[in-house]
């Protein structure tokens, strides 16, 4: 048996946009075990809920993540609305779904770029981020914010989208479809991508379930698990079908994300066609009392926002189970037995968002 050595991976590493530390136990070039540790960007945001008005806290919940911020805000609102028994206007639910899907597209494109970068494929990285700019432009035009939108409110949303703007968004989606098709072709067929991702970082179907994987990680291993299937918000009307691949390797997880770009386009088109006229928010009076676990689907997977309140303006507890935390046990499993050179690619396939994970 070769001598075992421990190589630290992170917290600062060229492929990691955010800090996570992995102790990699190696025998020669093979990883025997990966031991993660976190805490470099723990901000105690959940604790802050005890000091802030529950309505103001929407803006803090959006800042849990700098990528999937919109869905954090809407899920927090959904949890509070459920506790307070508030029925928000249907138009607000459609608007939340539209912005959620734009948010998903921009997150997936960001990830696809980072993934290409992890393989040293710089041109592909720049192409993905060039397309992402078009999504961010729409977000800025419709909400005023490119990354942090700030339009979620307990009781609905604060901004509407005009009929003309919805028509313009619909037209622009056709152009995005062409861009996505070209990116998908490269990720699916390019020899460099195939060599680095096929058969690498295997997560068998039974292990994905056993280890509590979520999002594209579990869907890349053959499970049709997607919180949008529960029909929360407007999703019960949008003809949603999850993208599932069965191979369980890095390539499958990548192709789930490229497939979801097209799903998001379909969902936005359906939402634009079916969005009803009407109010975008209802007045909210009083304070919440009770508890609820709200569940939605972020770009990285299922997110849980738990709120507990006792009738005062400050909540007693806000707990967020982010998809990255749920995908740490599958990551540890995928890394055991892989080559050292494959570690960056495998780590990126869970789309780690450490700011999210540590809150």
């Amino acid at each position: 048996m070769s001598k075992q050595i421990i190589v630290p991976f992170g917290p600062q590493h060229p492929v990691l946009p955010e800090p996570i530390h992995l102790d990699l136990v190696l025998e020669d070039e093979r990883v025997i075990e990966a031991i993660p540790s976190i805490g470099y960007v723990h901000r105690g945001l959940e604790k802050l809920v005890e000091k802030r008005d529950y309505k103001d806290y929407v803006f803090i919940s959006e800042r849990i993540c700098g990528i999937c911020s919109f869905i954090h805000g809407s899920t927090y609102c959904q949890a509070v609305e459920q506790v307070m028994n508030i029925d928000i206007p249907r138009r607000a639910e459609f608007l939340r779904a539209i912005w959620s899907e734009y948010s998903r597209m921009h997150s997936h494109l960001l990830w696809l770029g980072c993934f290409a970068d992890s393989m040293g494929y710089e041109n592909l990285f720049m192409n993905c981020w060039k397309v992402r700019e078009k999504i961010l432009d729409v977000m800025e035009r419709t909400t005023g914010g490119r990354i942090i939108q700030g339009v979620n409110r307990v009781g609905g949303v604060s901004r509407d989208i005009s009929r003309e703007e919805l028509a313009r968004m619909g037209t622009e989606l056709h152009g995005l479809q062409t861009d996505f098709a070209e990116l998908t072709r490269i990720f699916d067929e390019d020899l460099t991508v195939q060599t680095r991702t096929k058969g690498v970082g295997m997560l068998p179907k039974d292990m994905a379930w056993e280890l509590g994987a979520v999002g594209p990680v579990i869907r890349g291993s053959g499970h049709s698990v997607d919180a949008r299937s529960t029909g929360y918000g407007a999703y019960d009307e949008l003809d949603f079908k999850p993208v599932v691949r069965n191979e369980g390797d890095c390539h499958a997880r990548c192709m789930v994300r490229t497939g979801e770009l097209f799903t998001s386009i379909d969902l936005i088109e359906n939402a634009i066609d079916r969005i009803p006229e009407g109010d975008i928010s209802v007045p909210v009076k009083g304070n919440p009392a009770g508890e609820y676990y709200a569940r939605t689907e972020q770009p990285r997977g299922e997110v849980i926002h738990y709120v507990k309140a006792n009738g005062k303006k400050n909540l007693m507890r806000h707990r967020v189970r982010t998809p990255t935390l749920a995908n740490v046990p599958p990551l540890v499993h995928m890394l055991a037995g892989c080559e050292l050179a494959d570690v960056p690619v495998i780590v990126l396939t869970i789309d780690p968002c450490i700011g999210c994970m540590e809150r």
């Binding site: 805490g39 723990h42 280890l211 509590g212 407007a234 609820y292 849980i304 707990r319 935390l325």
Partner: protein, 129 residues
């Protein structure tokens, strides 16, 4: 659209392992474990998913009495148990991968479990004529 109502089944610590075993055998996925302060004690809630429905189990814990880890049944629980141990100071026995307080690096131990921050309200300034 209103979301489905959720029920939380309160059980004793002694019944935790048999109940979690039953969920595992029925094919449930472990979704999360969360903790919230309730008076001097803490509520630990285990959430499971099957057929898009969430089911919750809840036990009451205190920092003085360790609770059994479920990581021998659901290995994925080790992240949640380490997180609760680090943030709330609630001890777990038999965690499959036990970081012994080093999973989440915080500047003060158990920041969510014990009062660490005292908010001092600023006194109103005296009016000057």
């Amino acid at each position: 659209m209103k979301q489905p109502e959720q029920t939380i089944e309160a059980i004793s610590v002694e019944k935790l392992i048999p109940r979690v075993h039953a969920f595992h055998d029925d094919g449930y996925r472990l979704v999360q474990i969360s903790s919230a302060q309730e008076g001097d004690a803490f509520e630990i809630t285990y959430s499971f998913d099957k057929d898009l429905t969430l089911t919750h189990l809840r036990i009451i814990a205190t920092p003085e009495k360790p609770i059994p880890s479920i990581s021998r049944i659901y290995l994925a629980s080790f992240v949640y148990e380490n997180e609760i141990a680090d943030l709330f100071g609630i001890p777990f026995t038999g965690i499959a991968i036990d970081y012994k307080g080093t999973f989440i690096r915080t500047s003060v131990p158990h920041p969510f479990g014990t009062p660490q921050i005292t908010v001092v309200k600023k006194k109103p300034e005296a009016h000057h004529e």
